[in-house]
Symmetry: C2
Subunit: 258 residues, 2 copies
């Protein structure tokens, strides 16, 4: 008899978020699950690690096929702690992170704690998938994505992912998902990023806010476009950020002598 | 008369770190400088952003050609605040981040606050360079890197960088630097990452620590190898993490129907 697959789940909204509960529910028929997630929301943490505060990990619940831990760390800390202390005998077959409440398409891959956990798993040669729904609401409807996440998870468990590769999956907020679409990361940025306010004491402070601006709305092959057209956007991503073309181009820069 | 170039400087060790003071000293002959950096060390912050705490920015000092601000935010927050509030009429010609006390070679680009600032600048189409010295000591000797950083900065100011591209520069800790070498990000990871301790009250906690392990020590074209051989490692990097090869390969996965 072959062993059931083993999946590590994390997120950045915290272990008690509806998105991670839904992900657990979708993946439970496919694999034994270990959850290790932040004890509270850690959105926007990117691949941050905690070096100045002692980390703690607590068992939340344990039942056949599902064990849940929480930590006071970032998503990356959660994956590091889990891989170092919860999987002594057997590495997980895959890491799934999410489902995030809010999109992580385009350049949000760089800011996202959800994707930070994915990148950490990928650095450790474990197939990893980050999932986000384009809806910040705590009551968001994740249900339409169920068959597509299941299909993708089955394929990742069956085929694995090449070393250095991971998947950034973004789900549009619609009850009528048209399917999965392989696409690339759109170019974009946030604009009007700050709300400046005056404190009762008189000094000024800022809240980070802002709107995402897609720099290439006409492009047909981006994650932003796929979502706009009702598809689940799957961006195969690589943790090697080397720009090989620029490496060759810069050989003409005369950098040999100061 | 042409305008003097304008450079924004940030880091993750804080505005008062020796590394940023050295960088200011190297770049001052080349450009007018605006510094916007964290008020204290924010190492390991990656591209994290601050959404739950109000951000504050304070003028530290002002003299001809050099203005220094500090913020209570992450390196990415610093770049965002600076671009939104300090450069109303004119965008900076380049962003330099560092010099970090400690290397950010290989996959450290994903964890590093120094590089988080660089990625943020790159998202905003500004040529950006992250600099790190392989020495955590506050008394580290940055001086040998001076002519090479100056050469690189002159070239970046003259030629710019293609959209989406930035440079991750790592300096080995040696008085005899052999030059600059264009190279790629080495594959690697941290191992033995936690120091587990028992609290006086009895519970257990972890300190994040660990050693970097180069997964390809034999490869001749990596940043790790360049540094080992006494070269300043320059990795042209791209914020588009899409893996275009995997995108094609996954078309055979049968993802059309659940």
């Amino acid at each position: 008899m072959t062993q059931r697959p083993l999946i590590l789940i994390s997120n950045d909204d915290g272990f008690s978020a509806p998105g991670i509960a839904f992900l657990i529910d979708v993946l439970r028929p496919l694999a034994d699950l270990v959850v290790c997630a932040p004890d509270t929301g850690r959105s926007g943490m990117s691949a941050a690690i905690t070096v100045t505060v002692p980390l703690r990990m607590r068992l939340v619940s344990e039942e056949p096929g599902l064990t849940i831990y929480k930590t006071n760390g970032t998503p990356v800390d959660c994956v590091k702690l889990a891989l170092n202390h919860l999987f002594k005998d057997r590495k997980p077959d895959a890491v799934f992170s999410g489902i995030n409440h809010g999109t992580n398409a385009s350049v949000a891959i760089h800011y996202s704690g959800t994707l930070g956990a994915v990148i950490e798993a990928c650095i450790n040669d474990i197939p990893a998938v980050g999932l986000s729904l384009d809806d910040h609401d705590w009551q968001a409807n994740f249900e339409p994505s169920r068959p597509w996440i299941r299909l993708l998870a089955e394929q990742v468990l069956a085929k694995g992912l090449p070393r250095g590769c991971c998947l950034n999956v973004n789900i549009p907020c619609t009850p009528d998902l048209k399917g999965l679409r392989l696409c690339r990361q759109a170019r974009g940025r946030w604009v009007e990023e700050f709300d400046e306010r005056k404190h009762p004491r008189g000094d000024h402070y800022f809240w980070l806010t802002g709107n995402f601006c897609n720099d290439e709305p006409e492009a047909a092959d981006t994650d932003m476009r796929a979502m706009k057209e009702g598809f689940v956007a799957v961006v195969p991503s690589n943790i090697d950020m080397t720009d090989y073309a620029l490496m060759i181009k810069m050989q003409d820069w005369g950098l040999e002598r100061p």
